[in-house]
Assembly symmetry: C2
Homo-oligomer: 384 residues x 2
């Protein structure tokens, strides 16, 4: 089977984008990725959209975006797996190329989160949890992650402040990312003084909804080598699932889907966690990043708090994590996030991350969670 | 690349299924397909869900269904391309198997259309058209298809009654299908007397929303041959798109996406339209089936009216079409329809369609349209 490589990357500005429709956001990222790849529309043979449809007024988004990008009559489809929709788009495009069905594919993650009013958004989000037995009792997203945090603190002595150290790091790097929603640093004092959301989580433990889009151009090995001299290869591409209800999970201190997807992605790429030099992980809440350190094997179970306190996830540490600001500071346009993570890792592996550049970043990883871990997609990327 | 074969099929009863949640509908079809394939869950390595998420109260349906079917922690994803969502699920599973990423995959199309109130459903459907310039002026689905019908009648002299002859045929066969929503025949007199919807279309020209699910088990060639002695092969699998706005279409008497997808599917399968012995086409409105005859090359452009009047799409005619009742009589659970079509063609090719059996049906076709032709998926199926 052919290898699949990234030959172009594009990323729009995340934020409240009342200046643009969702198809315009998609175009912004697409145009930049096509320019980066140095190719024209005639080089593409399909597009895939990662998005969660119900946040948009326009239905049937794949067709709308495809047409707006000028790609009609090429094949297109939309993938949805909650906040990992962008990664599912990546994975189906990767399969299409490995199958020899497609040769060069544009993968676009795009989402407007601000078309609907906040109560509507909260109602939609509440229903990503298990609606029959859990969300009726108020298990919103922050409430679920508060359970994880409480349990992690109880079992391992993880400290309240360690959660916020994640937020401080991500804002530190987000301040250097021109595409981030919040381009400013925060302090422990300010974070500890923010409003309660679901204890121990306060406002600064939570990522923010945002509008935005990101785009990656994928190509089959031969074509990738013809078109680009800075190909980043998708060496590992795994997806695993876990029960929607936390009542049926083995424990509340990690995501079984993440552990499994990581193991499979490492195996596929022929590497181990120790080989990862830079990572983008799904820090929808601060505790999520701490659990990710452990689920991905960057440290042992229970040592995630120590990992951040020792600044092991800063540049210069063991595995720099979310040095683009992460969901926390960059913002989380749910359909775009998986593709945005891929763009950042590709940029790092190409050595083009400027003042956020991780040295000798030859192998990188993305970890994109859907729901509260019902899905987890892990990719391993490698520069030649 | 490996061939991909269908080794199991399952189909639930379409209708107002207030007795079942969407995951229960999915299970009904899945259980029956697994029994038909004679395999267990341990033989599967992924599932794919075709569905349009916004009609359901439960969000993140792929994970919910996957878990309800007992398939956690296998990979899963959901595909959405409006009314062709089931076919997009088929296509991504087919790619995954051809890529060697998956070996045996359950493809489930499932949809509840009756969880929401009718005004909510109409609002959602209205937004599948182009929202910025068209649907604001009232171009609902029936209105779009009424434009197609008016133009077809004007250009080719297609008669009002010829449209209803399609409905009469589809009810004739639907009456023999225990899974159909309307299991009763209709007369021209009754149909002509039904309420106006968007002229010339009346109630009996329109398919009905329904709840329902269908499931197909796909396997790579080697595994398919091991597991089954009645494999139906996916020889052609094409997808094409067209502009969302009808203002940008070359004409209003056919769907360019359908013509292109058919041409590609025939080429991939190494056949021509003349080889198709049985077909399932997307008769969301009666005019849609007449345009499909032409788009698929069963007759010349403009001769679709004559094709039905001469009973060429009945069993015994040139190409029997929708002999399971079609969307018109079987009902149209939008995410399930593409998979339901596949189930029927597989059943026909296996010679298991009972009193609806088409003789010598060696090669069959499915034609599944999303939106008003923004997407069209065409599959060519063949029995060894």
């Amino acid at each position: 089977m052919t290898k699949v490589g990234i030959i172009g990357i594009g990323h729009g500005v995340f934020g409240r984008r009342s200046d643009a429709t969702v198809q315009e956001l998609a175009f912004e990222a697409f145009r930049s990725a096509m320019k980066d790849a140095g190719i024209g529309r005639e080089d593409l043979d399909a597009s895939v959209i990662g998005s969660v449809p119900e946040y948009h007024k326009q239905r049937s988004l794949a067709g709308v975006v495809q047409e707006y990008l000028g790609l009609t009559p090429l094949p297109t489809w939309l993938t949805e797996v909650a906040c990992a929709s962008g990664s599912a788009a990546m994975r189906t495009a990767w399969m299409g190329i490995k199958a020899g069905v497609h040769n060069v594919v544009a993968v676009i993650g795009c989402q407007k989160m601000t078309e609907l009013a906040t109560p509507e958004i909260l109602a939609l989000m509440g229903r990503v949890g298990e609606v029959q037995w859990e969300s009726v009792f108020g298990t919103t997203f922050p409430a679920y992650y508060a359970l994880f945090a409480q349990r992690h603190m109880h079992e391992f002595g993880t400290k309240r402040e360690q959660l916020l150290e994640v937020a401080i790091k991500n804002h530190f790097y987000g301040a250097k990312n021109p595409c981030a929603l919040f381009q400013k640093e925060i302090t422990m004092e300010k974070a500890l003084g923010s409003d309660d959301v679901a204890l121990p989580l306060q406002v600064y433990d939570c990522c923010a909804n945002a509008d935005g889009a990101a785009c990656v151009i994928l190509a089959a090995e031969d074509r990738a080598k013809e078109l680009s001299d800075k190909v980043v290869w998708l060496d590992g591409m795994a997806c695993a699932t876990a029960s929607m209800s936390v009542l049926r999970r083995p424990n509340l201190v990690g995501l079984p889907s993440a552990e499994q997807a990581a193991a499979e992605a490492y195996e596929m790429a022929g590497i181990s966690a120790a080989d990862i030099k830079v990572a983008e992980v799904h820090d929808c809440f601060t505790i999520a990043e701490i659990m990710a350190y452990e689920d991905l094997g960057f440290c042992k179970r229970g040592e995630g708090g120590k990992f951040i306190s020792e600044r092991q996830s800063y540049i210069g540490g063991k595995v720099p994590v979310n040095v683009d600001g992460g969901l926390k500071s960059k913002g989380h346009p749910i359909g775009a996030t998986g593709v945005s993570m891929t763009v950042e890792i590709a940029k790092q592996l190409r050595g083009e991350a400027g003042e956020r550049q991780v040295k000798d970043a030859g192998v990188g990883l993305t970890h994109n969670v859907g729901g509260i871990g019902q899905y987890c997609f892990v990719q391993v990327l490698r520069r030649d």
